[in-house]
């Protein structure tokens, strides 16, 4: 009995450590899962914002809008023969 005892104790300690390690990794994994979830939410928010800005940019650079503004500012299409080609 006295021979078995130390091994038994070592076994229990090992199982305990292993169990604690398992619980720790699982907890970490879940914690990381939450973090990923949060980051995903931020990411999709930023993607949404990016798309919004892109759409805004497209609407602002719409040719009809630019034409109206240019017309208001007195811009006109160059008349024929008024364009001079130069090499840059």
């Amino acid at each position: 009995m006295s021979k078995i005892k130390p091994y038994f104790i070592v076994l229990i300690i090992m199982f305990t450590i292993l169990g604690m390690f398992y619980v720790w990794t699982t907890m970490e994994s879940i914690k990381l899962g939450y973090d990923i979830n949060k980051l995903n939410t931020i990411k999709s928010g930023l993607e949404h914002k990016h798309k919004e800005l892109l759409i805004k940019k497209t609407a602002l650079s719409s040719p009809s809008r630019i034409y109206k503004i240019a017309k208001k500012m007195g811009f006109i299409y160059p008349k024929e023969g008024k364009i001079i080609m130069v090499h840059d």
Partner: protein, 643 residues
């Protein structure tokens, strides 16, 4: 000690029995129960793919727009809450209370509201009232390309145009995502769960150039309004590839509010409508006659002073001075009498074959919704004078897309190119799943015949019926057409209803652009294609060539710069005239440009072989090459301007 171990063993045994019971005997049921509690499947409505112009500018996209939904069974104090909602949304109290009194579990109060209003409704915290975000199609350029793009219904299905035809690509797949959540309902992302992305729709890139589309639409609208046309369309094509660069229809509509327009406005006339083309058919028939050796450009035909009775009908011309014309002149002045006689030189089957070769009577398959075949009557239904009438575009119907495909062949040296509007389709992960390549369908005319017909079309613009399309810097070739419209009830032609068309390409020798403009029933100004449609082509060509950085050749420049004070409508300022005079004998020296405007300075120095760098605007105050310097060879010059 023994007792202790015995107790542990018994306890362990009990645990093992319980574990066996839970894992093996009740395991299946319990696992199912746990899955129900912690696992869930959420459904993503896939994001509809975008539609882009050729250079990647968004033409159609989807945005999530909030709407107010309600479970009427959950709403308490209905009158009070209906009043609150009505005050915030502007929807009538009667309507809201009507919805709240329904005995159902889901109803929309309003499907699209402003984000600001959505926030205020959320703040009310009415139980049973929720804000739901729904994807809504948005066209940031408004009416630009509306007829081609089409529009999308409230259930995210395309109802018209590209949106309809390519719905299966754009829509994507409804996708369930496996997730794990905790007791608070928060999603937990663990390996194997939730890592798959929803299948969004594919993105479609068109061959449309946004800037060219705008100017095409702008000038078509302007001229069609001025001409009082019932409808009109224009197509701009790259004749060397068959790519459609612009396609515009009049009247227009805004696809963001498509329901506010009647269906008449939605139709893409350029592909769905066939019409009797009138004289724009002539170049195709003359090319065929040249190919068959029935005529030569200088073959003389008697045009009978504009009146030609044949087999019970009388063919007439606009003018009565048309005597003996060469084939060149028949095209230049658009003589129906002359063209009729060219048509009569064909055997019927021969002409029928040529119509087929040009693509008339067949869908062009350009990738657009509702492409029509046009009408080429079967041979057994041709009257004796059928070839005569069809030669000047009567008794045959074509679509604008068919005509421009034929015109492109004349422009590019004789190859029928397959017209196309889809440039590429890219899946949500960036992989190209379809890419268009220019496709030569057949060579239809020889280079010699092509040269001859191009020359005839050049004459049309130079001194014939298409002079309103003339440009100063570029040579345009084209053909006018004024087709009579038939009364569908009687089959006879109306006396005052016409289709006014003009088709042309530019530059004459190496065409980069081909265009057709067709106006239906122009009532004001004129009903001739040369008068109401040619100016649209002229304006579009003039601006499109600038946009595409296509400039006149060196010869044109030399002509422009050295040909006097007011040639080519260029008025030189006194100062420039003086400088040019001074430079006449000393063209190898750098002139003094100090105080010149940018235009004047560039006008003077363009004759030298210089790479120019410009800074600022206004009047010139600095030039890095000193006046009087030797200007032989290639050099760089920096010009600085200030106001």
């Amino acid at each position: 000690m023994l007792i202790g171990f015995t107790a542990i063993a018994i306890f362990g045994g009990l645990l093992a029995v319980r574990a066996f019971n839970l894992q093996i005997i009740e395991g299946k049921g319990l696992r199912l129960l746990a899955r129900k509690q912690f696992h869930a499947e959420i459904y993503f409505t896939p994001e509809r793919g975008n539609i882009y112009s050729s250079n990647g500018s968004i033409l159609a996209t989807s945005v999530n727009v909030p709407g107010i939904a309600v479970d009427p069974l959950m709403v308490r104090h209905k009158f009070k809450n209906a009043e609150k909602l009505s005050g915030l949304t502007g929807i009538s109290f009667q309507k809201i209370i009507g919805i709240l009194n329904q005995g159902i579990q889901f109803a929309w109060i309003k499907r699209r509201i402003l984000g600001r209003i959505a926030k205020n409704v959320e703040k009310l915290g009415i139980s049973g009232v929720i804000i739901v975000k729904q994807p809504v199609r948005y066209y940031p350029n408004g009416s630009l390309l509306a007829h081609v793009l089409g529009f999308v219904g409230i259930n995210d299905n395309g109802l018209s145009g590209i949106e309809y035809k390519y719905n299966k690509f754009l829509k994507g797949g409804r996708h369930a995502l496996k997730i794990l959540h905790d007791g608070l309902g928060q999603y937990i992302f663990i390996k194997g769960f939730g890592l798959r992305k929803a299948t969004h729709g594919d993105n479609i890139y068109l061959t449309i150039n946004k800037q060219l589309q705008f100017i095409t639409q702008y000038y078509l609208d302007k001229e069609a309004k001025a001409a009082g046309s019932r409808g009109a369309f224009a197509i701009l094509m790259d004749p060397n590839t068959g790519a459609i660069l612009a396609m515009a229809d009049y009247p227009g509509f805004n696809p963001n509010y498509y329901w506010q327009y009647s269906a008449r406005y939605w139709r893409n006339r350029a592909v769905t409508d066939d019409f009797e083309p009138g004289s724009t058919m002539k170049p195709f028939v003359v090319s065929a006659a040249l190919m068959e050796g029935l005529v030569k450009p200088d073959t003389i035909i008697n045009c009978h002073h504009g009146l030609y009775p044949i087999d019970g009908i009388t063919v007439s011309d606009v003018e009565n001075w048309f005597g003996h014309f060469s084939v060149n002149q028949i095209v230049e002045y658009s003589s129906n009498v002359g063209e009729c006689q060219i048509g009569m030189r064909f055997r019927k089957a021969e002409l029928y074959k040529w119509f087929g070769l040009w693509g008339f009577g067949h869908k062009p398959h350009a990738g657009l919704l509702g492409e029509a075949d046009g009408i080429v009557k079967p041979l057994n239904k041709w009257s004796e004078v059928g070839p005569c009438e069809m030669a000047f575009g009567q008794g045959i119907s074509v679509t604008g897309l068919q005509e421009i495909a034929g015109l492109a062949a004349i422009a590019n040296g004789g190859h029928i190119m397959k017209p196309y509007i889809i440039k590429k389709i890219v899946n949500p992960y960036g992989k190209i799943i379809y890419k268009a390549k220019p496709e030569v369908l057949k060579r239809i005319i020889t280079p010699r015949v092509d040269k001859e017909i191009k020359h005839m079309m050049r004459l049309v613009v130079k001194g014939g019926t298409g002079q309103y399309s003339k440009l100063i810097d570029f040579k345009v070739s084209g053909k006018t057409g004024t087709g009579q419209i038939a009364d569908p009830k009687t089959g006879k032609y109306y006396k005052n209803k016409y289709t006014a068309s003009f088709m042309a390409f530019v530059p004459y020798k190496h065409p980069e652009l081909a265009m057709i403009v067709v106006q239906e029933k122009p009532l004001k100004i004129s009903y001739y294609g040369g008068a109401v449609s040619a100016p649209v082509v002229r304006s579009v060509f003039k601006n499109a060539l600038n946009i595409l950085n296509i400039y006149p050749g060196e010869r044109a420049y030399k002509k422009q710069s050295m040909s006097g004070n007011n040639v080519n409508n260029i008025t030189l300022t006194k100062q420039v005239r003086k400088k040019l005079t001074v430079l006449k004998g000393y063209s190898g020296m750098m002139p003094d440009l100090n105080g010149d405007t940018m235009y004047d300075a560039l006008k003077i120095i363009r004759k030298y072989n210089l790479h120019v760098k410009i800074k600022g605007s206004g009047f010139l105050y600095y030039q890095n090459i000193k006046p009087g310097s030797n200007m032989s060879g290639e050099r760089n010059i920096v010009l600085k301007f200030k106001s």
